[in-house]
């Protein structure tokens, strides 16, 4: 018997193409930054300060997107900044996801006392203002890449725990869970083999969203000078530096801002797109 449904191929869709394309481009830029960056991102030249981008009057050849007030190349700094942004997005996003989703899954599926303990923790955690909490954490841990990642994981796991708990609860009430028990599957086995595949699309969507959020958090921390040390370029650092000279040299602020915006948008759109493709019912 031919399976007619199996033959329908759904187009990947503009959303997935555009967001995936931008992120791929960014990943390539991050990996090849030393090869493709036109200038050293740290090289200062005070004679070439605040040069406008290439299409404007008085642009300096070789500096495509202009220079900042210390004469550093904006394009090169954006390319190098992508490295840090992507590392934070991938590592912090994934760790947050694993920690939060595991706790959410356990509390939503097992209910009872594990749920009471984890849920109380989530409630307490969410009562802290996140930015203040992050600043406090970094102040204790000291600035640096590792501190940023730890701060993001510690603050944002609740986002996953909440959503996955609710999802696991509703899946746990389905008859296929009872039927796994009838078949003699252990509770733990049921959680991994039956529940997890059903909450996976939500986990994927949240994970990509969290990657976008991680990029933003890093930018926020740069803004208050608590990110990585100033000699490694970050988008957040560039935005906060550009802010002071926005009337004289808007490009120093605007280009990293656009890059950040597109990146965060792409992450969230990628998640939505992947969620749809992951779902055999929608596929």
């Amino acid at each position: 018997m031919r399976d007619a449904r199996g033959n329908i191929r759904r187009p990947i869709g503009a959303r997935l193409w555009l967001s995936g394309g931008w992120l791929t481009l960014l990943a390539l830029a991050a990996i090849c930054a030393p090869l493709i960056a036109p200038k050293d991102p740290l090289m200062q030249d005070l004679f070439l300060g605040r040069m406008p981008p290439f299409w404007m009057e008085g642009a300096e050849p070789g500096y495509l997107l202009g220079t900042d007030s210390l004469g550093r190349d904006v394009l090169s700094r954006i390319l190098y900044g992508a490295r840090l942004a992507l590392v934070v997005a991938l590592v912090a996003g994934t760790l947050t996801c694993v920690a939060g989703a595991t706790l959410g899954l356990v509390s939503g599926f097992y209910r009872g006392w594990p749920d009471r303990i984890i849920s109380r923790f989530v409630d307490i955690w969410m009562a802290f203002p996140p930015v203040l909490f992050a600043i406090l954490l970094i102040a204790v841990l000291g600035p640096g890449l590792l501190s940023i990642i730890i701060a993001i994981v510690i603050i944002d796991w609740t986002r996953f725990a909440r959503v996955i708990r609710a999802e696991a609860m509703s899946q746990g009430a389905m008859d296929y869970v009872a039927s796994a028990q009838v078949a003699g599957r252990t509770r733990f086995g049921t959680m991994l083999a039956e529940i997890l595949p059903n909450v996976l699309p939500t986990i994927v969507a949240l994970l990509t969203l969290e990657m976008g959020i991680a990029v933003i958090v890093e930018a926020i921390l740069s803004f208050v000078n608590l990110s990585i040390s100033t000699d490694s370029p970050t988008w957040g650092g560039m935005i906060s530096e550009g802010r002071t000279s926005v009337h004289q040299a808007w490009w120093v602020l605007v280009f990293p801002l656009i890059t950040l915006f597109l990146t965060v948008l792409s992450f969230s759109q990628l998640g939505e797109g992947l969620k749809d493709r992951f779902d055999p019912v929608l596929r």
Binding site: D3, R5, D175, A178, S179, A183, N198, P280, V281
Partner: protein, 265 residues
Amino acid sequence: MIYEIRDLHLSLPDMTRKPLLGATPRIEILKGLSFDVPKGAVLGIVGGSGSGKSTLGRAMLRLLEPTGGQIKFKGIDITHMNENQLRGMRQQFQMIFQDPMSSLNPRRRVGGIIAGPLRLHGVENLPAKVNEALDMVGLPTTFARRYPHELSGGQRQRVGIARAIALRPDFILADEIVSGLDVSSQAQVLNLLADLVRELGLSLAFISHDLSVIRRLCSRVLILHKGEIVEEGETTELFESPKAAYTKELLAAIPLPDPYQKWDV
């Protein structure tokens, strides 16, 4: 005897009446049921909604733990066994669920759904067993590669039956398995179940609110009302001369093809 059930009580916490502080009051759902399921019997369990028929079924399969009384399965007391003790026995009593959309994991293919329980009980040669089970319920073996949402309601319920019989249990509980199907699929699924029960020599408990379905399938009937057995007997006898008032009410509610014609069984 497959099942010997004596004075079965079951109560569940009533969350709607949970006070702010203190213990949740319990609501008594099964109030002392006693009956047997002989080997090879097809027992119908009938009752209106809220009569406790599904709870009784879940207690028999030990998805719920009784609060009193005793359940013996093939002479073994399973009333208060824990999940680890039950696991080795679960192969022998299986269940077909009411809603196949909810009881089949939407992210597994039909083949995986049927193979899952087999794998847990260490059955070998899985693909052949899956094909055999599909064959027995009258589905083409190519369906093993499909997802549940790609099947019709009747086909899904056949998958539910295939999963239950693949383990070759001694007893199957069917909980309202045709109430979500249209009339022609109902007839097909019921005929299939009747054939399988005969072929495999299974014992079956068939929960339903639909007396005409029970009448076709079951040799014995148990009428449940508000957690108590109001009447029990041979199907033909019970349909001909019902004794309890509630049974008479139920029988009077069956729509007749010709309202002027009386039931003749």
